[in-house]
Symmetry: C2
Subunit: 356 residues, 2 copies
DNA sequence: GTTAGCACTCTCGTAGTGAGAGTGCTAGAT
DNA sequence: ATCTAGCACTCTCACTACGAGAGTGCTAAC
């Protein structure tokens, strides 16, 4: 990383000036001039001196000019440095903490996820994203079959973390409700605590091995389970607040708006990008380098993982122009990740032991 | 309506010219000149003659000029006239019909609705919208309680048309699964076929009347049902393809884009607008007059209702700039409405008799 | 090492201009 | 009476020019 190598180069004053430039730019969205740093910055130096430093900072890759004789703009390297060692994180205000906790306390997992993405977007004024786990990776809590009509049966799968998915499946013959209930109970009892993926594989093996001596009832059960448990292969994505982007000065031409919205429409890519944030526990920030979205559009991603107990479930974060208020947003994302984990744990703790 | 009163005024030639102007404008998105009508239109007249007619049409309110000495653009009245008595609807091509039928055939109601809005958007290149019924207005098919942890119970409600909603409720004391199953069965048997709203009211009455002599079991049952059946007070809205709008020439400045997206973000208003389309069976087209969305933004709405049997369920339609290919889109919306109704009926027919 | 001064550069808004497109009107043709 | 050719007029749009303003880089003096 450039910033690490160049680290020694920066004197305290260099750092102070770079910080001023970044803070000013985050606020104003306009190239920062030496004069404005001289005036409003903490250093008591003339614009000319500042200019010298800024020229150095540009050479080292922390600043750039949109054109000769414009002010300067921070680069991705500058933001990284800022986040790593200059920023003073502002704790989430008590009022917002309460608001978040209140909003995530009640409701099913689905509702909670929706609230989380909305909170992210609302409190950061950026786009909020929450990735929910693919059902197949979650641990089964209960399964239920409800007769719909004729041979059609609705299969409802509940994961131990409270996510729900459902699917209409067609059986070979019409089954009475009592039998469906029996099957539900049997499956819930014998497979609760395992992931759907595991269960599917186990059932498949069983079918092959015991095909000969299976009785009708067991065959039916397995067939139902096999179809029902094939729900939710892909993770879900909730995106909230894309319209926030339209009021940001960096999206003032329609071409850019269009490319941005197209990028946000590709959910699979969003998942991939957000998933880069799960490494290493805390919050991770992606700027510039890492993907088409962040590099081409000058966007940043602040993301973290949420989990129940020690099982990572999914990721959440915000996405917006690199010029964003990291001092507020990073604590916000951290807090939301923690609160969400906690909320899910509280609502869906207990239940069948986790035999995974 | 202006168009009706002025109807007599229009000679066959006037109508032919107006039609040419509309068709050309729909294709080009640019003001139509007399010259282009003279050249490509069916009439064999000079541009000057066409100009005379176009001046009349402007006076009568069917055309307007963005500025003096620009071509002319159709007004809302022109579109209404076009749709009412000039348009030649193009039947949905067999290939698209099959595609639609295939896409709506399988899956639960939820999935089907998602596919429907996507189809609308994809095949029309406009924004597709599907309004799903508020759960409270639907007829109960089955209800199911699944223990989650401690006193928390997940309540799954299935409507006879296959919609599913769920809610986590808290009971006063921990209930064993067997009892929950018993309660599920009891409620499904005694209330299947009624709307949730009816059931809620009935339960409330029952609670008041019989408070004294109710036994514990019944009290519990009613309490569970009351909380569980309060799901889904508001109708759901699925919006698909908003990014299509960004490639339309009428949204070439960011201000407009912004106002448009803000309009689409207000789901409640969308529902209200779409619901204006359920009157009178077939497809209804709103242009200009009827709402902020259609008048301020020069947008049109082509909508229709879908239903199962004779019970209207919800509405669907497309929204886009008034300049749209009505000859294709109106049959498309009609067909989708019919196919969706049919698909829902086929998947979810039968079941408990409708005692409403 | 710092600063004042100054020339230089680049953007941006404004004004002007000419080409192009389209109209409205009128006089003449059919 | 209807249609059309011709023409003057209007409006937009793209292009250019230009000056103000902002900001820089460099140099010479403090």
């Amino acid at each position: 990383m450039t910033d690490l190598r160049d680290h020694g180069k920066l004197s305290a004053r260099d750092r102070e000036i770079l910080k001023d430039v970044i803070l000013t730019y985050i606020l104003s969205a306009e190239p920062v001039s030496s004069r404005s740093v001289a005036k409003h910055g903490k250093l008591d130096l003339s614009a000319a001196s500042i200019r010298n430093v800024m020229a150095d900072l540009e050479e080292w890759g922390y600043l750039m000019q949109p054109h000769t004789s414009a002010g300067r703009v921070p680069t991705a390297a500058a933001y990284h440095l800022f986040i790593g060692s200059m920023m003073e994180a502002r704790a989430v205000p008590a009022k917002e903490r309460r608001y978040i906790q209140e909003s995530l306390k009640t409701g099913g997992a689905d509702e909670i996820m929706g609230n989380a993405s909305h909170l992210l977007s609302e409190l950061s004024s950026q786009v909020g994203i929450v990735v929910t786990p693919a059902m197949g990776e979650t641990v089964l809590k209960a399964v239920d079959f409800i007769p719909i009509s004729g041979r059609k049966v609705l299969c409802v799968v509940v994961s131990s973390t409270g996510f729900i998915d459902n699917k209409v499946i067609e059986t070979e013959e019409e089954l009475p409700r009592e039998e469906l209930v029996r099957i539900s109970n049997y499956l819930t009892d014998s497979f609760g605590g395992h992931t759907l993926r595991e269960i599917r594989e186990r059932l498949l093996r069983q079918m092959v091995e015991e095909r000969a001596q299976m009785d009708r009832v067991l065959a039916r059960t397995i067939e139902l389970a096999r179809s029902g448990f094939s729900v939710g292969e892909v993770p879900g994505v909730r995106v909230d607040g894309t319209s926030m982007l339209l009021s940001k000065p960096e999206l003032s031409d329609v071409q850019r708006v269009r490319r941005t919205f197209e990028a946000f429409a590709d959910k699979a890519r969003l998942v991939k990008i957000l998933n880069q944030c799960i490494q290493g526990g805390g919050v991770r920030v992606l700027i510039g380098e890492d993907s088409e979205l962040t590099s081409e559009l000058d966007f940043s991603v602040v993301g973290t993982a949420y989990s129940v107990g020690d099982r990572p479930l999914g990721t959440l974060g915000i996405v917006g122009p690199s010029r964003m208020d990291y001092e507020k947003i990073i604590p916000l994302v951290t807090f939301l990740g923690e609160t969400l984990s906690q909320a899910l744990a509280e609502t869906f703790s207990g239940g069948p032991p986790d035999r995974r």
